[in-house]
Amino acid sequence: MISKDLSVEFLGVHFENPFLLSSSPVDNCYEMCAKAFDEGWGGVVFKTIGPKHFKINEVSPRFDELTKEGTPFVGFKNMEQIAEHSLEENLHDLRHLKDDYPNKVVIASIMGTNEEDWETLAQLVTEAGADMIEMNLSCPQMTSHEMGSDVGTNPELVKKYCAAVKRGSDLPMMAKMTPNITDMVPAAKASMAGGADGIATINTVKSVANIDLDRKVGLPIVNGKSSISGFSGKAVKPIALRFLQQLRTAAGLEQLPISGIGGIETWQDAAEFILMGATTLQVTTSVMQYGYRIVEDMKNGLMHYMEDQHVEHLSELIGVANKNIVPAEDLDRDYKVYPKIDWDKCIGCGRCYISCFDGAHQAITWDIKTRRPSIDTSKCVGCHLCNLVCPVGAITTGEVVMKPGTKGNPEDVQIESSRLTHPVQ
């Protein structure tokens, strides 16, 4: 079995590996975190601890899922708020986790309703022995508008509360940002201005996942009604990566330390977040679906990836892809690349023909007798929709041509792509 050093330094804290449980139902008590540590997680962001005066009263049931064809949990909707246990119980658990797992990182997630709350909670979790604080400025399903994502979209409040936490504690601190905002940069900058040392993102995306067609109400149904609440899982990964990219390319935030969150369930997802600038990685939805054990393949797969990439430390990979994602106006628009059909692989299903006609440029002709498609280059724009729908990987990137009136050598164009040039089949 391969063995590589997966350790990272994040906000001055050493993590034996970058995989953390995010603040959520998956790390709600000592026993859960202890089991997760035993199975190999590098740290936990303990489920958000709120002020004593704020009472949590949850609904039942509280989850829903988005499916597609036979695939469950494409996305996951969650209505649960912050920790239900008493403040004393939570502080007790933090203390004991740190005592029993000194080499694991215990991060306290906190959430207040005012500056005093934030400062007090920061003090209490510091006394309990937490290694780091995460400010939950982003939960979208709180029953108070003084808490959660309503706060996180307001840079002034964000800055004020960050400063309050810093008054209460000298621990490293990250502010957890909501994606329910057009531009995350102002909130992130406000956090840093308030004293945050890094950013955790994304929290869940506000959603209505499904509607019960007979009862005409969203799911899950709580005594005949439902609510908007946070959506997570694989479906939100692209949204999360987009926010990471925007943060890491904002002026002044190029070296922003990020704890990446949003649909991570494989080592490939983890590597993508790292390449987009995350140092640590937080996971919930796939743990809810499959259990803590998923960390085994994330760690092992990431080690193999490091070996393949000839990399000794994950730090060498952080943010490497950021520079290759540029504004749309900066992309090379002088060429197009035609698809190429491998007749030996083609099984004659005609899906490329249908998609090209109905969703693209009517550039595939279909031979009724032989049941084989061919590309009409006079119409083909090189969009490669055909490639994506082909079930057997018979369509790849082919000839590159320069558009009329442009200069440049087609051979200099970089079209290599794991998806299009070498479809995984």
Binding site: E265, W267, Q268, I294, M298, V392
Partner: protein, 410 residues
């Protein structure tokens, strides 16, 4: 272009293996992982496939089983892991063998080198026989730091894997790949050496710290009434002859009769069909409900177009004409054919090997003999005579040797 005899069933693609892995329920306390005689952990490697960690999946398979790519192809999984599969509660079990084949093919395609030679402990072991048990014994010992010499009576290694299992089920190339891994770990294979003739057990004992007898049931059994009959060939000889020639043999008969109902009989009958023998009739002592062949092999044989007649025994033979009678019914059948193949079992030959067997097996449990330097494993050890059991026995004898020589310590 490979012939029909050589052509292996198609493997999964990345897309289709994910579809199959997605059917896996990822059970808690997975029953499949408790059902493998060789200790394979399908739940673990299928989960790795599911989470796109193919290299991790390959590590899980290979570190447990030096014959991983072979077992993937030949194991009667429907008796073990797939029998235990929880998915059966919905429809049909996960194709665990198929997924294992995809992963081990990927391992080879990526040229992964998973097994590591242990630091040398200065001890050396002789293994007699290079079938699956001998090979697994070698792999386990090499990982523990022993030097290993394998003595093989034939000119190629692999035993029944090489000479018995047909190409369409187990390509020669796969056998080569698996053996090369073990050679790369440091095994030295000495070919064309028969113990008792070219070298004696005393020589082996003098040159090594222990000797493992890992000979299999490589000799065919004969029924007295067929002895000396020019139309008769044993399954062992037939399968070896066809495999050696890659299916390109002379004088393909128009019809053939196979006698026997085990997996070997199924292989013979299917091979005959793949060689385009028009009429292949297999007469079997057992009735279908007591069949010895695995369900998978039986189904494939019937699908290949072999006529299987159950419950019949040969009672008379006159040249190329055999008469069978039903064991219970008043029924008789006489068939005139071009070739009669006997697949009625195999026996071991342990002459000059210092191991006493009765009915092909040592009559006590474990792997030790009265001679503290001599161990045995494989078909002659108690337990099933399948490849997966050979792997288990190979690992177990290696542990027993390690215990005996080093108390299990490095």
């Amino acid at each position: 272009m490979s012939t029909k005899y050589e052509k292996e069933a198609p493997s999964y693609t990345m897309t289709t293996v994910m579809e199959e892995a997605a059917r896996c329920l990822l059970c808690h306390d997975a029953p499949c992982s408790k059902a493998c005689p060789a200790g394979t952990d399908p739940a673990r490697f299928i989960r790795s496939v599911r989470f796109r960690n193919l290299k991790g999946a390959a590590e899980t398979i290979r570190e447990n089983n030096a014959m991983g790519a072979i077992c993937a192809r030949v194991c009667p999984t429907e008796k073990y892991c797939e029998l235990a599969c929880s998915r059966t509660g919905i429809d049909c079990p996960i194709d665990i063998g198929g997924i294992q084949r995809f992963v081990t093919d990927y391992e080879e395609q990526e040229k992964m080198d998973i097994l590591r030679k242990g630091d040398s402990n200065g001890l050396s072991i002789a293994i007699v026989g290079s079938g699956p048990a001998g090979l697994q014994t070698a792999a386990t010992l090499l990982q523990k730091g022993y030097a290993v010499n394998i003595y093989e009576k034939n000119e190629k290694a692999g035993g029944y894997l090489r000479y018995g299992i047909p190409e369409y089920r187990l390509p020669d190339e796969i056998v080569d790949v698996e053996i090369n891994r073990i050679v790369n770990l440091g095994a030295e294979i000495k070919y064309n050496v028969t113990i008792g003739k070219d070298v004696t057990m005393a020589d082996l004992k003098a040159d090594h710290d222990a000797v493992v007898v890992a000979v299999g049931a490589s000799e065919a059994k004969m029924l007295p009434m067929f002895e000396g009959n020019p139309y008769v060939e044993t399954a062992v000889d037939f399968l070896a002859r066809v495999k050696e020639a890659k299916g390109d043999i002379d004088n393909i008969p128009a019809s053939a009769v196979v006698v026997g109902g085990g997996d070997v009989a199924m292989d013979v009958a299917t091979t005959l069909k793949r060689l385009d023998v028009k009429n292949v009739t297999d007469l079997v002592y057992e009735e279908f409900d007591e069949f010895k062949a695995s369900k998978k092999e039986l189904d494939a044989t019937q699908k290949a177009g072999v006529t299987i007649v159950d419950g019949y025994v040969p009672t008379d033979v006159d040249g190329n004409t055999v008469t069978f009678k039903h064991r219970h019914l008043d029924s008789e059948m006489t068939i005139k054919t071009d070739l009669i193949i006997l697949a009625v079992g195999q026996q071991v030959n342990t002459d000059n090997l210092g191991v006493d067997t009765d009915h092909g097996e040592v009559q006590h449990a474990g792997y030790k003999t009265d001679d503290e330097k001599v161990f045995f494993t494989g078909d002659i050890a108690q337990g099933d005579k399948t490849v997966v059991w050979a792997v288990r026995k190979g690992k177990e004898v290696a542990e027993e040797i390690d215990q005996a020589l080093l108390g299990g310590n490095k």
